[in-house]
């Protein structure tokens, strides 16, 4: 893959250079040099500063450098790629390029590596100044090397995500909104650094850990939580390797999606097996990270190693449960084909019955994801299944009900309300998930809150020893009533559509 033969890359490079890069490079240099001058001033006269050692001073200044570098390369690069693609799609240039004999891989590579060149130049300047800071402060070069590898791999990973976001979002600012939402959810995992997958996918743990391992003089609990090796099903793993491995695996799926979406824009973002595989891999990694607490004996705690400061160990699995729901929701939305394309495919193949529609719909995918989640959740309670059976059933039932309701709602609303579908899906999710909590607050009655579609699994997993599980089982059964109702309406809508198509 020679970038000098890639017209998309060359044009993006030309556009970046025409827009001017010198000012951007100078800004990065000035920021970096300001921080470097701070370190030089400290080394010249240490008594004027509060740092206990040159290493601590170096870490502080280098920390700022990589903070700016991340902001420029990861956030700025993501925003640049998604905006470029969205704008070129809107202008018709994306289609013009797609009509050329260029391979989809060349198109994706061109935008992925070409459009964020200005950010790359700025990051390179900052990385160079960062190396000088590390050397002057007599810090280990591995700190510089490790952090730079992680920053650049994250930039590549998020760059691929940006390509997909640019292909899907209609408006150029959609990418930034997506990124902000991602960071918002990421911030929740900072309180339990070693146990949350998001700290490895966006390698906050790996970077913080490199700083800790390069000489830590503090005994503060909050700092110690960022030290040591995380464990996957009891096996210690280097955080850098874990981050790189996860980014590589997820990145391969993102790459495949981007290339496929370029070649065939009418297909959903993910194939069904890819959706199931990526869901399974991320869930296995997450449950592997928290496995050390129960060793398969949930809810009986086996080890307090890695216990987070602010959470008891039981609510931790509830948080993972919520994360599972969120991840499945994203995957279902990305991998479920629009009903219109299912209908068109059915018409093309001459299919008239629902039996042929079902395997290609979001509903069957929801069933597959629920099965995967059920198997992986079993790792936490496999050795104590006799006592945790009811909790397990409630959690799995809750996942299944949520996935089915979401997929049925998604397809029903797409069929029924077409372009207004998203608003109606949001409305019904609000009614089923959030409204019960609001009512619980208004009437100061927690029972309302338990009716929420999110509640039974979370409550059962968080209060495994105290909760009346039969009530929760009843609520899950009630949720399945909604599933049946929605299924009937979903079926009717499909039949009507197929009849019209015929």
């Amino acid at each position: 893959m020679n970038l000098n033969d890639n017209p998309i890359f060359l044009t993006q490079k030309r556009l970046v250079h025409r827009g001017g890069v010198l000012a951007a490079i100078l800004i990065a240099a000035l920021v970096g040099l300001s921080l470097l001058s701070g370190l030089i001033a400290y080394l010249a006269d240490p008594l004027n500063f509060n740092f206990p050692s040159p290493q601590e001073a170096g870490k502080m200044f280098y920390g700022w450098v990589i903070g700016v570098e991340i902001l420029v390369l990861v956030v700025g690069g993501f925003s640049r790629i998604s905006r470029t693609l969205a704008e070129e799609r809107k202008a018709g240039l994306w289609d013009s390029n797609r009509l050329t004999p260029l391979k989809p891989t060349q198109l994706v590579t061109g935008y992925w590596l070409g459009s964020p060149l200005r950010e790359l130049y700025m990051a390179a300047v900052l990385a160079g100044i960062g190396l000088v800071i590390v050397l002057l402060a007599k810090l280990s070069v591995t700190l510089w090397l490790g952090t730079q590898i992680l920053i650049f791999s994250t930039a590549l990973f998020f760059g691929l995500l940006a390509v997909l976001v640019g292909m899907v979002f209609q408006r150029p600012q959609g990418g930034v909104i997506f990124l902000l939402a991602l960071f918002f959810f990421q911030s929740f995992s900072f309180t339990m650094p070693k146990l949350m997958l998001t700290n490895f996918l966006l390698p906050t743990y790996g970077i913080a850990n490199l700083f800790m391992e390069s000489g830590n003089s503090s005994n503060d609990d909050s700092i110690r939580e960022w030290s040591g090796l995380p464990q996957i099903f009891g096996l210690p793993v280097y955080p850098i390797l874990l981050s790189l491995g996860l980014q590589l695996i997820v990145g391969v799926f993102l790459w495949r999606s981007a290339v496929r979406k370029t070649a065939k824009p009418f297909q959903p973002l993910m194939l069904r097996w890819e959706a199931v595989a990526i869901f399974g891999i991320l869930l296995v990694a997450q449950h592997g990270l928290i496995w050390g607490i129960w060793h398969g004996h949930f809810p009986e705690i086996q080890s307090w190693a890695g216990r987070p400061r602010f959470y008891e160990s039981e609510p931790l699995i509830s948080i993972v449960h919520c994360g599972t729901i969120l991840l499945a929701t994203i995957i279902l939305a990305a991998a479920s084909p629009p009903p219109e394309s299912v209908r068109v495919k059915a018409m093309r193949l001459g299919v008239r019955n629902l039996g042929a529609i079902f395997p290609g719909s979001a509903v069957s995918l929801a069933l597959a994801l629920a099965a995967v989640a059920a198997v992986i959740l079993l790792t936490q309670c496999a050795l104590s299944f006799g006592s945790s059976r009811e909790i397990y059933l409630i959690a799995v039932g809750n996942l299944l009900a949520f996935f089915l309701i979401f997929s049925l709602l998604l397809e029903f609303c797409r069929l029924r309300f077409k372009r207004r579908a998203l608003g109606f899906v949001a409305l019904w999710l609000f009614v089923l998930c959030v409204l019960p909590f609001i009512l619980a607050g208004v009437f100061t009655n927690a029972a309302f809150g338990k009716l929420s579609l999110l509640a039974p699994g979370v409550v059962a997993l968080a209060n495994a020893h105290e909760e009346n599980l039969n009530n929760l089982l009843g609520i899950v059964a009630g949720h399945f009533g909604i599933v049946v109702l929605l299924f009937i309406y979903w079926q009717r809508q499909w039949k009507q559509l197929l009849a019209n198509a015929a």
Partner: protein
């Protein structure tokens, strides 16, 4: 007989609430310039997007030079040039850089020379080093046409190519299209302004509400027409001529001392017979024009009435 370069068979495109293209079949041979005519929303652009592979088809097939587009999309990209109805250009590139981008993408040999040729063909040589954002809409339109011609495609799909051009530009476009026709290309050109297409289209396809109302060679379509607008001029014997025309059932007859215009219901043979009668009866005809080879007449009689 030249081989068909573009064959569209039973093409159907579904949108969520409408069938945008419904069972459209069309054949364009080498050297044909086919006018795709229809009111706004008739499905012309969707048809072109489906033929180029930008729009998913529900049914039907597209063959270019005997190869199935659905099976060999990558190979056929060099055969097909699509010019959309707007001007997708990189504002911050010069005209030459813009063409260079696509010349590289198509793997055009002797890039610099070919770019020069295309710029010359579209009268943009003077604008070679101008940024695209500095070009007028008409110039951008010509630049996109130059981009479409770069790889020398055998089949050209031009969607409203003259919409941004000034009168001179339209005349020049006509010259280019005639030139392309002479070099054996197959051109499908859409417009809802019929005068744009007159003069260089030798075949026409009329669409309305996603369906093909009629298609074929313009001369043939004119022959099939049930009613034509006729204009005749004579040097003498005007009264006799008027009598013959009345007896031949000429409608909406408007006559003067030197000639008449009227609508004629009969077919081409009946019209030939009428002219023969006039001459035999001694009317000295100086001018005879039977409307029918003109697109506007064909369109108006095709059933597609909502001409914009």
């Amino acid at each position: 007989m030249p081989a068909p370069l573009l064959v569209i068979e039973h093409l159907r495109v579904d949108f969520p609430e409408v069938v945008a293209v419904n069972d459209v079949s069309l054949t364009i041979e080498a050297g044909d310039v086919c006018g795709l005519i229809g009111p706004n929303g008739a499905g012309k652009t969707t048809t072109m997007r489906a033929v180029s592979g930008l729009q998913e088809c529900t049914r039907g097939s597209v063959r270019i030079g005997g190869h199935e587009l659905a099976r060999e999309p990558q190979e056929l990209k060099r055969w097909l040039g699509f010019m959309p109805d707007f001007c997708p250009v990189y504002d911050q590139l010069t005209a030459a850089e813009f063409l260079d981008h696509f010349a590289r993408a198509y793997g055009v040999p002797n890039r610099a020379r070919r770019i020069e040729e295309c710029l010359e063909l579209t009268w943009l040589t003077e604008k070679t080093n101008s940024l695209c954002e500095e070009l007028s809409r008409g110039m951008k339109q010509r630049l996109v046409l130059a981009k479409t011609l770069l790889p020398d495609p055998q089949v050209l799909l031009l969607d409203e190519p003259a919409s941004g051009l000034d009168p001179l530009g339209r005349i020049e476009l006509r010259k280019i299209l005639l030139q392309l026709r002479d070099t054996g290309k197959a051109v499908l050109i859409s417009s809802h302004i019929l005068t744009e297409l007159s003069g260089f289209c030798n075949t026409a396809a009329i669409m309305e509400r996603g369906k093909l109302v009629t298609c074929g060679a313009i001369s043939e379509l004119g022959r099939k027409m049930s009613q034509r607008k006729i204009s005749v001029k004579w040097r003498a014997d005007g009264d006799k001529a008027r009598e013959i025309l009345k007896s031949a059932n000429a409608k909406n007859l408007e006559s003067s001392a030197t000639g008449a215009t009227f609508d004629f219901d009969g077919g081409a043979d009946a019209l030939d017979e009428l002219l023969k009668t006039l001459i035999i009866q001694g009317v000295r005809i100086s001018e005879w024009h039977a409307g029918g080879d003109d697109l506007e007449q064909i369109f108006l009689q095709s059933g597609a009435k909502e001409l914009m």
